[in-house]
Structures are given as structure tokens and as C-alpha cells.
């Protein structure tokens, strides 16, 4: 009886959200067990956050590297994929974040056959579910950027913060299971950044300079992320001059999301919802000033060694422009330590066509695609290759890799390339 009462209470929670007729049918299993299971999951999450109902979404983006999935996650996907044809496919364009390997470069990464087999199984399951294997965390640069007020279900924090802030779209962080659920049902619980009131600024940030390099943009994002400190905080940022480029805001947002779990910021006078401060925030909000010294201090906190075992450009995947810049720095150089540049499957063919890949690899580097370094068994890569001291221009990457046993160091693309040549990262 006790279990029965608990069960009823749980059902009460499950049905607290208002469901339309279609959603009632899905929940009743009339569309099959896969959408039913997906909606049940979404209701659990929606009820947890007090969502009143669902909102239709136009695109979903799934983070599901096999290091995160593990055997259990892949089996879970395979169970969904085993449903009969016609009852298991996604209803809206649903794409994937980077995979757990680049099959063409698996030996370089020390990936085992077991890892590759798990990856193949996950891909096969996703394809049966109708998911498009785009394998990119820069879909806003390579697949289709969302538009203002477009409701989406994006995974990868860097994607979400860019879509929300730069594009003015509406998404929460949707982890893999929830993004897949959104793809399968075509909707997501209406809470968080789908609600206009949650998009108002909660703190003001005044910066005294505008960064130029990608590592500086990332470091500034990291500093602001640490100040803001939690998912529900929305920084309204003043003081940025000029028009930042997409790659700059890519690193800025990815680092802010990584350091602070931030999903939305406003650049006053620049991003679409923040023509003026009063559009997004009250003038009496607490003001935090961020100086060039704060940005430099964050970068210096990662300069823990001089020797470098590996140089990595990743997190987020590189755009064609970044690869072009890197190729120029690689001309007539010869690397003494490995240099990895990671991009998306959409950009890689262009990099090949433009000759960027050949120029980077002529210096001894490697251009990988469809993965991201930290999503590709970073701990096992370190153990297999003996890489500990890692130089990168990605603030997001240095924030993540400490837990994987690395000593990550943050520097400019130019300094990282020099480190690949000499094996030493020069202090600036």
C-alpha cells in the first residue's frame, strides 16, 4: 500500500503539466512506446522545474559521445532503435554534437577497438531513430543558425549560449536524453529560457576593454561565467566595442557556459534583445567590473608549466576561418610535439579543398573532424599517449581538462603554434 501511495503521488507530479490532445495521445502510447517514453521523461523534467506546458521546437541537437553514454547508454539507445519502423523516428530535424572519435585518426588518439565498436553501435542506433549525424558543436556556423524567438532543443552548452544570446533563439541546456526526447516528440517543457521573464538580465557586467584574440575572448567569457555563477543568471554586459566576429563570440560564450553554466548573456547594443540596457535589465542591478587584469589573471592561473606535450585546437570545433589562420601560422614550420586541430565534418572538406589541411599537416600537425577533444575519451588519450601538459587557445578546454588529469595551459593561437615547434610555451 505504501508503494501504491508513493506511486500515486508520483503520477500526480507526472500529470501536473497541462497536456494538449496530441500530448495526451503520446502519453497514452498511441504513437508507440518510443515517443511515449520520451514524453514521460520530458514530463519528469518539466514537472521538476514547474513547467506549465510544452512548447513546440523546430530543431534538436544531441550531445551523445560514447564516453558519456558508456555501454549502458548505448544499450538504452539500441532499445529505442529496436522499436518498429514508423514508431521510432524523430519528428523534427535532429542532429548530433561531436562523436567520441574520428575513425580516420583513431590510432593517433590511442582509441581502442572497443571504443570504436561502441561508437559504431551508437551511430547505428541514432540512424535508426532518424537522427542526422552532423557531429558538430558549431551547427550555428555550419548547419542552420536559429532565428530570433525560434524555440529549439539544443545540447552542447556552447551551442545553447550562442543560439540564445547571438541569435535570440530560445533553448535550455538539453542533455542528450532530453534533446533526443524533443526530437521524438517535437516539443520540450516550457520553462527556463523559453520564458520571456527568464531572459531578463540578472546582473550587470562592465568591461574596460574589448578582446582581440580568441583566447582573450574565451578568458573574458570565463571570468564573467565565474562571476555569474549559475544557470539562471543572465549577465547584461556593457563596454564591448565594435562588432565581434562569430568565432570570437563562439569562444566567449562557450567559456562563459563552461565556467558558469550560463545559457544566455546580452551584449548591450549588440545582441538582438539588448538594443539598450533597459530592454533587458534594470539599471539598479548589481554591477561587476571586469578589467583586462582579471582576464590576464585567469589565463596566468593555467600557466603551470613551460614544457608542452601536445597542442590542441578544439572546443569548440574550428571554423574554416580559424583553420585558415592556423594554416598560415604553420607554413615553413616543423613541429616537435603533436598539434591537433579539430573541426566539423562540414568544414573539413573545405579545409581540404582550400589546402589548409595540407599546410597544417605538412608542418606535422593533424586535422581531425567530427569529434571534440574533451568528448573523445580525454583521460584514455592522456594515458595512451602520455600527454599531460596541453597548450590550447580554448578557455573552455582548459576549464574541462583538469578533471581528466591534464595540466592545460591557455595561450594565443600564435603562442600555441610556437609551442608545437619548440616544445615550450613562452610566457608572455
Amino acid at each position: 500500500m505504501g508503494q501504491g501511495r508513493a506511486g500515486r503521488r508520483r503520477e500526480d507530479r507526472l500529470t501536473a503539466m497541462k497536456l494538449n490532445d496530441e500530448e495526451q495521445d503520446i502519453l497514452a502510447g498511441k504513437a508507440g512506446p518510443v515517443p511515449q517514453q520520451a514524453l514521460q521523461h520530458q514530463i519528469k523534467v518539466g514537472a521538476f522545474f514547474g513547467a506549465a506546458d510544452f512548447v513546440p521546437v523546430t530543431q534538436a541537437h544531441i550531445m551523445a559521445d560514447t564516453e558519456s553514454l558508456g555501454e549502458a547508454g548505448v544499450q538504452w539507445l539500441e532499445a529505442l532503435a529496436a522499436a518498429s519502423e514508423g514508431q521510432r523516428r524523430v519528428r523534427i530535424p535532429t542532429i548530433t554534437d561531436p562523436r567520441g572519435t574520428d575513425f580516420a585518426k583513431a590510432d593517433l588518439l590511442g582509441h581502442t577497438q572497443a571504443m570504436l565498436e561502441l561508437e559504431r553501435r551508437a551511430v547505428a542506433a541514432f540512424e535508426k531513430l532518424g537522427v542526422a549525424m552532423t557531429n558538430t558543436c558549431i551547427n550555428y556556423q555550419t548547419i542552420q543558425a536559429p532565428t530570433r524567438n525560434e524555440h529549439t532543443a539544443f545540447g552542447d552548452t556552447g551551442v545553447v549560449i550562442y543560439a540564445n544570446s547571438v541569435c535570440g533563439a530560445r533553448s535550455n541546456f538539453e542533455g542528450g536524453p532530453s534533446a533526443l526526447a524533443a526530437g521524438l516528440t517535437g516539443r520540450t517543457p516550457r520553462y527556463g529560457f523559453h520564458l520571456p521573464e527568464a531572459r531578463r538580465g540578472t546582473l550587470r557586467i562592465q568591461v574596460d576593454h574589448t578582446p582581440t584574440t580568441l583566447n582573450d575572448w574565451g578568458a573574458l567569457g570565463g571570468v564573467i561565467g565565474k562571476i555569474a555563477g549559475n544557470y539562471w543568471a543572465v549577465p547584461a554586459i556593457e563596454g564591448i566595442e565594435g562588432a565581434p566576429k562569430s568565432d570570437q563570440l563562439k569562444h566567449f560564450g562557450a567559456a562563459m557556459a563552461s565556467f558558469g553554466s550560463i545559457a544566455l548573456y546580452h551584449l548591450v547594443g549588440l545582441t538582438p534583445e539588448a538594443g539598450r540596457l533597459s530592454d533587458v535589465a534594470s539599471a539598479d542591478l548589481p554591477v561587476h567590473r571586469v578589467s583586462r587584469a582579471d582576464v590576464e589573471a585567469l589565463q596566468q592561473s593555467y600557466r603551470t608549466a613551460d614544457q608542452v606535450d601536445v597542442v590542441v585546437f578544439s572546443a569548440p570545433q574550428l571554423s574554416l576561418y580559424e583553420l585558415g589562420d592556423l594554416a598560415s601560422l604553420c607554413d615553413n614550420r616543423r613541429f616537435s610535439v603533436p598539434l591537433l586541430a579539430v573541426t566539423s565534418p562540414q568544414v573539413k572538406p573545405d579545409s581540404d579543398r582550400m589546402g589548409y589541411t595540407a599546410r597544417i599537416e605538412a608542418a606535422g600537425g593533424s586535422v581531425l573532424s567530427g569529434m571534440c577533444f574533451y568528448q573523445s575519451y580525454a583521460r584514455e588519450i592522456s594515458e595512451a599517449r602520455g600527454w599531460k601538459r596541453l597548450a590550447t587557445n580554448s578557455a573552455k578546454l582548459v576549464n574541462i581538462l583538469g578533471g581528466y588529469g591534464y595540466r592545460p595551459m591557455l595561450a594565443s593561437m600564435e603562442a600555441c603554434v610556437e609551442a608545437a615547434v619548440s616544445g615550450r610555451l613562452v610566457r608572455t
Partner: protein, 135 residues
């Protein structure tokens, strides 16, 4: 028995009872854990080196990253998982991960829960009543 009770605004999962691992720090399965050894591995984390397996984690907030949505499920499949997550605030990822992994979770208290609960205290997490009981 004198028990102190704290009420949460958000709750899900089964009722569990265990020892609390408390820190004014964040949580991300990818950023902070060695999920093979079952310990906090990020050197700068206040629980670095401590085992999280079978413990009620009482922490401040969620960190960046979406991997926890899968990783709680994966850790549970191997029995290398926290017993429950109790946080001042969570992001959707932790809630989505707890939902998939059926891990007990409470979030949103009227006081700083990391200051209210002692490290090592025995606690009961009762999501159906949205409460944390310190025994």
C-alpha cells in the same frame, strides 16, 4: 530522535538514506569526477580525492557541461554513482540526468544547504515530500 528538516522547491527520484558529502562547490560529472575510480578528481574541487560512491552529495550548484545527463545513468549501471544530489540550485542537465538515471535529487532551499548540513552527517532524502532530513 531529533531530526532537522529542510524543504526543497524542486524534487525527484526515490527516497534514500546515507552519509552526506558536503562542500560549497559545484558539480559536473565530466568536469569533476574520475568515474572509473569513483572519486572527485578535479584538483581544485573541495572534495578532490574523496569517494562519491553511495554518498548524498550536498553541493552548491551545477557547473557547465551537458554530459552529466548521460553520465549519471552510466555510473548507476556500474554502481559507481552518488546516492543522491542535493544542491542549492541545479541546471536542466542535472535534472535530466537524474530523471534518466532515477537518482534522487533535491534543489532550491531557503538557506544555503551546504552550510546547514554537516559533512559526514546521516541524512534522508525524501523527494516525494520535497524534504531533506538530517538524522
Amino acid at each position: 530522535m531529533n531530526a532537522r528538516i529542510f524543504r526543497a522547491r524542486h524534487a525527484m527520484g526515490p527516497t534514500v538514506r546515507g552519509l552526506a558529502l558536503v562542500a560549497k562547490d559545484g558539480f559536473s560529472a565530466r568536469y569533476d569526477l574520475d568515474r572509473i575510480k569513483g572519486i572527485f578528481s578535479r584538483p581544485s574541487h573541495k572534495l578532490a580525492g574523496q569517494s562519491y560512491v553511495g554518498k548524498v552529495l550536498v553541493l552548491d550548484t551545477a557547473k557547465g557541461g551537458v554530459a552529466t545527463a548521460w553520465m549519471l545513468h552510466e555510473m548507476k549501471s556500474r554502481g559507481i554513482v552518488p546516492l543522491a544530489l542535493v544542491l542549492n540550485s541545479v541546471n536542466p542537465i542535472l535534472a535530466q540526468g537524474a530523471a534518466l538515471g532515477d537518482v534522487a535529487m533535491l534543489a532550491g532551499f531557503d538557506e544555503d544547504i551546504t552550510a546547514a548540513v554537516s559533512h559526514g552527517a546521516e541524512v534522508e532524502v525524501v523527494p516525494q515530500q520535497s524534504l531533506l532530513r538530517v538524522i
